[in-house]
Every structure is written in C-alpha cells, then in structure tokens.
Symmetry: C2
Subunit: 506 residues, 2 copies
C-alpha cells in the first residue's frame, strides 16, 4: 500500500495555506485550539497516526498518496485545493465511530465525503483534515414492501437507490444532474433538491430514519424508520442539511413511493416572467405537477446551437416553462389542453408543445437539462438562490438590471426550478475577458445579488448548501440570532469542533 507516502501536493501546499486559517479555526473555540499543527498546516500524518487509522480500517483503506488526495479531497466547486491529511475508507458504521473517537483523542479535524458532487465546498478537505470517504458503506438492506422503505449505507449512489426502487415496482423521487455519482449520505447532509421538488419535496422528506456518528463519537439511531413519532425534538432534522458539521451520516432508512405513470411534458413559450407565474397558478390548482421548470430564450439558443436538438416551436418567446405531469387517465391530457387554451386566451402563453412519446419527453427535458453543460465552455459564474415563487419575476428584473448596469457586456442565462422559487443565475464570461478579472467582477456581482436576495427575504442557498463558498453570505439569509443559535447547536453535538470545521460558519 501507498499509505506511508506523504502527499506531494500537501508539502507544496504547506506554505500556501492562507494565514487567516488559524484564526478562523480558533474563533469558534478560543479556549481550546483543537487542530494540531500537522492537521491544520497540512503536514503529513506521522507514522503512529497512520498506524492507528490502519488498525481501524485496515492498511488498504488508508490513503496518503496525492492521487487519493485529489480525488477524495474536493467536490465539484473546483475552486479549492484538496489537501486532506489522510484519506480513510471505512467499511462499517463501527469503523466510522472508531475513527471519530480516534479523532477526538488526537484532536483531528474530520471532513466526511460522499459522491463529492457538492457545489459549495462542503466536502472539501483543504486544511490537512482526516478525510472519511463513505464510498464503501454502499450496502442496501431490509427492504420492506409494506413500509416501502430500504436501509441504505451512506455511500449508496442516488441512482443505485433509484434503480433498486424501480426493480421493486417503486420510485425514489429525488433526482438531479449528479444522481449517477452523488451518494445518499451526501444528499442528506446537503438536503439535496433537484427537478421534482414541486411534487416530491427535498431529500428531507424521504429520510425515515437516520444513523449518525456525532462529534462526541456517539452513534445515534434517529427515528428508526417510523412514519409518526412525536416523542421529543426531531434531532434527525438537524443532520439533514447539516453539511457534516454536527456529525457523519452513516446510514439512512429511505422512503420510497408509487412510481409516476405515463408522464407528459409541456413546453410553453410565455410572454414575460409574470405570465409564467400565472401559468403555474393555473396548472397547479388542477393537476399535480411533477415538475415546473423554466429557462430563458438565451439559454434555449445556446442549447440549440450546441447540439442536435430543435426548437420546440418557431414562435419566439422570452421565457419558456416546462411542465411535467402524470397522465393519470385519458382525461388528464384533455384537462392539460383546456388549461393551455385558457393560458393562450389570457395572453400568457404564445405557443407550446406536448410530448406524445417517451422519446419526445426526453428531448423536451433535454432543452432544460442540457443548459448547464452547454454553457460550461464560458466558465460561467453560477449562483443558486431562491425567493418566494410569486416574487421571482420582480426579483429577476432587479438582478438583471443591477448586473446590466454595472457590466453591460455580461450575458446572463437564467434557468431553474421556478415552481419552488429556485433560480440558477449564470453569467457567462466574455471571451475577451481574463478569468481573474471576470472572477473579481463576479465577486462584486455576488454581493449585489445577495443584497437583492436579502431585500426579497430570499435564500443565498436554495439547494446547494453553504459549505465554504457561501459562509460569508449566510447573514444575508439568516439573522445574527439564528447564526448564533446554529453555532451553539453545533457545540452541543460537536463540542470539540472537529466535525467539518469552517463549513457553514466559522
């Protein structure tokens, strides 16, 4: 094994660690600095420590090579340098608990990592932390058809759970672009959302039971899969969306449901943003929509130019809404068409198409889902924000106006889960602008956008979490009192501050 070798990247990183890090770590617990120098400064773990880790997980499951550091130490944000002190890959819940207890004894900071598809740096280990990768906790057991639940290790891939559900004639409805590699433990820790939230809710709604190892080294078995349990505070809810700062999700009892039948997709061209909301209102009061997404004409143009898709219809529109619903019966399509005619009569909708086959459904979905990949060549600035759905039209105009005023050469691409008030703001880098300069300008934009988010009582992180990327902006959404209370709650579960320190808040 290569466990005894030290990271070359870490050695070079040693001097690159920003000076602010130490004070950052100390600010939470001034009385007790909990990082040993080797841990925070990115020095190699010594042989004694490596041996202790190996005694828990086995030699093969301790990694200190630079490749493992690069693989396991970052998520999809890509703006942080991975620099874990060591990577361990436990195979059991008991091993995770033993690792946390070792970390307590050795004063080691821990980062738990799942599928590493996060977009806020929540699973980044850039400061010599002990990285506990949960990939090997990937077993599924105790499926029960009546309860419609299955127990998943934290490392189960989202798609693995989706496929399992399908085999059992059931459905796991939380779905998003990274379902092929994101893991259940990570989904829970970030309360992952995605494209079906309007009907099925967030990951929070599908966690019937949760096993976690807290920063105290305790193994908690929360709720045990029960549908109803009003016996005291529901601690499970804190770990959902807790981004690994309170403890490590090691196992979850996931709820499944009836699969949707005969899905249909409508793509509608709408006259303006406020008309989209009228369309939403019209449809949601009559049909259970499984999705209500939107994208702009600019986004559509990029997708059409990029690949093999055609425009859904020729009539131009500034924005498009994508609606999905179940064809519960033969009446449903008729109802959808009646509502469509009403929307046209009202002047909200200029044209539209409805899928007549699975192939058409998939292609219409691609108009929305291919946007992210299509625009990636412009290295876009991205932001995941939300306001009340009813406030989205005003909010968008406001953001556009501020960005256009300051940087008229910036191209803005909007898309997102507008039925939930969740929009993804994308600003494309002009080809002739250097990356550094673009990033600097985007930092200015960020603050302005978050100020607007605050003015609209919105969220600086609708579904991606806070992690490292947004912690400086948490106060735009949460009050000082709330943040203080969060810190105190962290102290309850993680009194030594070893669990994913520096994430969400300092």
């Amino acid at each position: 094994m290569g466990a005894k070798g030290a990271y070359d990247t870490i050695r070079t990183l040693k001097n690159a660690v920003p000076a602010g890090l130490l004070s950052l770590c100390n600010s939470a617990h001034k009385s007790q600095p909990y990082f040993r120098e080797r841990n925070i400064m990115g020095l190699e773990f010594d042989e004694h420590l490596i041996a202790k880790l190996a005694a828990i997980v086995g030699d093969e499951q301790v990694r200190t090579d630079s490749q493992s550091a690069a693989i396991y130490g970052i998520d999809w944000t890509r703006v942080y340098q991975p620099a874990p002190g060591a990577v361990v890959l436990p195979k059991t819940v008991e091993q995770v608990q033993a690792l946390v207890q070792l970390a307590i004894a050795e004063n080691l900071a821990i980062v738990a990592s799942g599928g590493r598809t996060g977009l806020s740096g929540g699973a980044v280990a850039a400061r010599g932390e002990l990285l506990i990768a949960l990939d090997n906790l990937n077993g599924m057991r105790d499926f029960n058809a009546i309860d419609r639940t299955v127990v998943c290790g934290a490392g189960v891939i989202t798609e693995q759970l989706q496929n399992f559900a399908e085999q059992e004639g059931l459905f796991y409805p939380v779905d998003f672009a990274s379902s092929g590699s994101s893991q259940i433990g990570g989904n829970i820790s970030t309360n992952a959302g995605g494209i079906k939230v309007i009907r099925y809710g967030m990951t929070r709604d599908w966690v019937a039971g949760l096993k976690v190892v807290t920063g105290n080294g305790q193994l908690l078995d929360l709720n045990k899969g029960l549908k109803k349990n009003n016996a005291g505070y529901d601690l499970r809810q804190l770990f959902i969306g807790g981004e690994g700062t309170l403890g490590i999700v090691v196992e979850a009892t996931m709820q499944l449901c009836r699969p949707p039948v005969d899905l249909s997709v409508l793509v509608l061209g709408v006259s303006d943003m406020s008309a989209i909301m009228d369309v939403l209102n019209t449809y949601q009061n009559k049909l259970d929509l499984t999705a209500f997404e939107f994208f702009s004409e600019r986004a559509l143009q990029k997708v059409i130019a990029h690949g093999d898709l055609n425009r859904p219809f020729e009539t131009p529109a500034e924005y498009y809404a994508l609606l999905e619903f179940e064809q519960i019966s033969a009446d449903t399509e008729e109802l959808a068409m009646t509502l469509f005619e009403h929307c046209v009569e009202q002047g909200w909708v200029v044209d539209g198409v409805v899928s007549q086959s699975t192939a058409q459904l998939k292609n219409l979905w691609r108009l929305r889902e291919d946007i992210s990949e299509t625009i990636s060549r412009w290295m876009p600035y991205k932001n995941d924000i939300s306001v009340l759905p009813s406030r989205v039209p005003d909010f968008l105009l406001n953001v556009e106006s501020v960005v256009n005023q300051q940087y008229p050469d910036f191209e803005i691409i909007w898309f997102g889960h507008i039925g939930d008030g969740n929009v993804h703001l994308n600003i494309l880098k002009p080809d002739d602008l250097a990356m550094d300069e673009f990033q600097q300008r985007c930092d200015v934009v960020s603050k302005q956008v978050f100020a607007i988010v605050e003015a609209y009582d919105g969220s600086v992180s609708a579904e991606h979490g806070v992690g490292l990327l947004k912690k400086d902006y948490l106060s735009y959404t949460r009050s000082k009192e709330e943040i203080d209370l969060m810190k105190q709650i962290k102290t309850v579960f993680d009194p030594r501050g070893i669990m994913n320190p520096g994430k969400i808040f300092d």
Copy 2:
C-alpha cells in the same frame, strides 16, 4: 376586571402540590433555581407583577379568576389540576415578546396555551406558571395564490384555516377530531397528525415559515415561507413538535394545496391483521390513498349499538379497513374495484362497500370517527403508539396477549391510522371495577405496553406528543444520548428553563 382577585383553586392547591415538584424543577438547572416561590408553589401573583403584565397586554387581558384558570390552564387530558399563576391574552407578537422578557426578568415559568385540545398535558399549567393564551393572535394575512401560502397567527383555529383555504379554492389537509377548536400554534408545537397523514404528512410538512419567541426573549423569523432554503440548520424543525419548551410559536406561514376531487371511501372487512397490510400494499402501489384507517369488530359493534349507523355489510370480519382516495377520473373507481377483486381472490378481504355519494362517504367515515366518543362512557385507558406499519399485526397480537393474560376481564378496542403504523389502544373500564383500581392496573399495563413498543422499535407517542403524561416513558423510544442532547438543545434556546418547564423531560 377581576384581574386582582386570586384563584381560589390555587390557594387550596398550594398544599396539594407534590413535594417532588421542586426537585423536578431544579434538576435541569441545579445552579440557578428559576422559580420564585409564588410561581412554583401556586401562590397568587402579587399586585406589582399583575400591574406589569397589565402594562403589556392591558388590564382586560390579565385574568386571575378561577374560571379563567380552569379554562386556560388545562388541555383534554383532564388528569391535571389547572393552577396557573395568571392568564394573559396578548394580542400581538410584540406583546408576547414583552411578556417573555418580563418572565426572564422576574424568573417566571411560562406555559403557552392554544386550543387546549392536547392529549398529553403539554399545555397544562399546574404549578402557578404564567399562562400565555394565544387565542387573540387569530388573524390571517398575506394570502398569496401563487405561493399558496397564508400567514396565520398562532391562535387561528384549524377549521378557520381549512375554511379559508376552501374559500380560495385550495385545501389545508391536516385534519383531526379537534379541528374545530385546536389552534395552529398548538398544532405546530405538537406536530399534529390526524386522518390524512398517509397522503399529506404531519403539520411539519405544511409550515413554510415560523415566527417564535425563544426562552431568550428573541423573536426569530424562520424560513420566511421559502420552498427551498438550504442556508444552515433548519431551526424551524426544532420548534415543530417542541411542545413550547424552546419558545412560543407566535405566527406561521402555512402552505396550502390543491383540494382533492371526488373522494370515495371503501370499507373492507379483512380476515386478519396481516391481511390488512396486504390490502394496504395492494392499493398504495396503484392509488394515492388519502386515508387508510382501521378499526376492530368490537369497535364497530359499539358504534352500531350506540347510534343511528348500520353495519356496512353483514359478513362478519375481525377487522375493517377504511380507504379513501380521489376519483381523479372515471377509471379510478374501476381500478379500485379491480384491486378489491384481487384482495378477495387472495382471501384477504371478506366483503366490502364503496361510497356512491357524499352522504354515504360521511356515514362510512363515521364508523371510524364515532368510536372515540362512543367508548368514552367506559372511561377508557387510551394510548397513542406507533411501530412500522409492517410490524403492526405482530405488535397488536403481542399487546393483546399481555393485557389478556394479566387482566382477562379487560375489553380492548383498537382503531387508528394503520397506514402510518399509528394505532390507538383503548382499554374499557369494566363497569364493576372502581376507577382508582382501574387506573392502577392501567399503570401496570402502560409499562408493559411501552416495553413492547420498545422491543418493536416503536414510538410511545405517535402524534400526541409527550407533555407531562409520557415524559416518564420517553426513554422507551429515545436513547439516553438523544434525551441528553435534547436537554442541551433546550438550554441553547431557553437557558433559564422558563419555557414550559417539566414538559417532555425534567
């Protein structure tokens, strides 16, 4: 006003307060006894304090007469003697905050009370507490058709919200026997469930935003109605089901939804308990059931003997399942009938009826809903417990066997929300047994039932909360570590221990 008069009941209660109370209150915060003698010992509030309360809420809204104490100081448990120190009825959020700040300054324990329909003593003020009744915070505002939300004061009656939703062409789906008097703030504080949980979830799922006044006197505005907000820990979740021990719910943004269309009810006679689960499984995989309830033949016999209802069909069955679903289209009833035939072929179902009109639907529902009132003449021992749905049949047999063995003369009546694994155990008092003796025996039964609940990984309180009634049994469902963590979380929000002390845990 009668505010200056002291409770006669409290005076006589003074000597009746159990000696254990003082140590009970001190156990949480040994270093700082927070009850003044007048508060814990049930002495009258002195004139200075009454004047301070009146300065906040006005003379008319401070009550110290015995009738107000009797009305506002208890819930539906009826086993505790109401003895608040004073009752205040604030009219605004600001007044509630000022009252909490006064309580902090004066070291007064607070009990918040809503519709007082709780069944666990969570809103009981039996120890001279300051009782803050939220009845006057009963305004509704800021309805938004697109967001489908409305902001409710804590004192809004459940039925008031249901009716409001109906007027707007929408639906508030949390429904239960006490909807005509329970209040939204109380529903949230107990995470109320009811008869539609299988489709619509608990109250937790309908709280888009929450304003609370913590034990620190802080006013928190949690989540602001957003559909998606992953910006740090979701503190809102702690107050939902927190039973007023962390703070007082003063206002909530409630989510509404599309109303169900053309509901139908099936009542099926089933051969045995495990067959009920096969029926559930068969139907839930094809239809979105809005309810799946059950009751026993004994329960049915009582209801038929008591009133004006007929048996749904003549074929006898040991248990009955009541299923409700939307007639989304003409196909739905056909599907329901096909599934019914399948269940009969499998030997699970012996007979059944389906409603053909709203009147029939209501009468079929009454077979289930009239049980509680019907059996009330036997002063039943009641328990609200849950296990995984798949384990209900075994669990019921186990409980019956233990009770029958010990007390063969006890008659057991089962009913409940079996689709959620939530059963209500009722044991009727034999007519020739004295109440005292019955209660003593039931205490023995309780411990045995909770031991079985524990063995089945179930909950000692599925939907009624813990309050005073079940706090001694919390450890049958929650581990020592969980309870310790809950106590620490209470300390974060309520460091002085003034919020509903002695509820959930000591």
